[in-house]
């Protein structure tokens, strides 16, 4: 289990308990977190679950893989800490994770 927090562009925070093995995107969709569209349902095929991982969590969440890097071409305002939340797996290691949601997913 891990507690994860999504921060909307306007500052609104959404904290949720997440089961290990789910993806950060699935937790957001299950809890209706606004701003995570996830059009493709988790196939790493749409880049509409783009989030910014807070600095102190970058190491724990790992690096983006090639497919994710390609998909980020379809996102807007991509930064060094940009990730697709469908590619971040929940585990005890990410308990406390905080991510920011971009203003728009396109």
């Amino acid at each position: 289990m891990a507690k994860v927090t999504y921060v909307e562009h306007n500052g609104t925070e959404h904290s949720h308990e997440a089961e290990n093995g789910m993806t950060l995107m699935e937790v957001a969709v299950k809890n209706s977190v606004p701003g995570i569209d996830a059009d493709c349902g988790g196939a790493c095929a749409c880049a509409t679950c783009h989030v910014y991982v807070r600095e102190d969590w970058l190491e724990k969440t790992g690096n983006r893989e090639e497919m994710e890097e390609d998909m980020l071409d379809f996102a807007f305002d991509v930064r060094d800490n940009s990730r697709l939340s469908c590619q971040i797996k929940i585990s005890d290691d990410v308990d406390g994770l905080v991510v920011d949601i971009p203003e728009k997913q396109f």
């Binding site: 095929a45 305002d77 396109f106």
Partner: protein
Amino acid sequence: MSEATINTDVVIIGAGPVGLFAVFELGLLDMKAHLIDILDKPGGQCAELYPEKPIYDIPGMPEVSGQQLTDQLMAQAEPFNPTFHYNRMVTGLEKLADDSWRVTTDENEVFECKVVVIAAGGGSFQPKKPPIPGIEDYEQSDSGNGLGVHYAVRKMDAFRDKDVLISGGGDSALDWVLNLQPIAKSMTLVHRRDDFRAAPDSVNKMRAMVADGKVNLHIGQITELTGDNGQLAGAQLKTKDGDMVSLECNSFLPFFGLTMKLGPIADWGLNLTENLIEVDTEKFATDQDGIYAIGDINTYPGKLKLILSGFHEAALMAHHAFKRVHPDQKLTFQYTTSSTNLQKKLGVK
């Protein structure tokens, strides 16, 4: 573009997996279908979003790619000779005096049919518009002159002698860099990284043009467009290091892929819940007689957005739609394994 009205039993909006399987189920019951889709090919999300990705939850197919599933469904629908109308959006739906429906598209086609099946998935695919502040000021509905912001190239010649700025790293972006460079006054390509997803051959050609000074390549992201009174004059580029660079352009083509929007379906007076069409679970009918909704576009208690659910919905829809299309005929339930009648229709007997 066709002026004449097309008369058919059923119009299916959306040629994704569920729309394609609906052709089969309708066909077994002697109903002929026309399909309309915004994409240039069948398969919907399977073909557009994940053609090469495996799907593991199609009954009887332990692993199948989006494209393979599409090809198989096309083969399954083939005996019923469906007619496909690609690159079109259904814009209008209106009830006629005799209780049939008129369907119109953005290419001015007119269909008249007894039954409309909305199998539109997540809505229609439309180009992603970058959320650059004020971008809509430069989007011109009359795109004939090539000026301003465009999400597609309709006529290449419109870009002749323009200062063209293209953003993106996929095949669309690079194809248009290569094709428009010879006629444009100048060609600038912007991409967020120095890696391109496009076909290696296109990337090599683009790199050669950059080496020859024919294409200006910048790594970074466009953050601002500048101009006066809707006349685009330039763009601001933010580099990876955070520096700002001014680019001159009077034509901007952003290629960031496609997104799904509900589109005109919202205007047809159907009962909607969170942009999904409400249906019953007996016949998958909407609140309008003769309009059905199947697949990801519909909602009902317990709905699962799975392709297999859409298949089930297509079968029940077809059995109910039969009464509307063939009111004088009696429907007898038959199996494809044993019915000579069905096997004849499938061309296997």
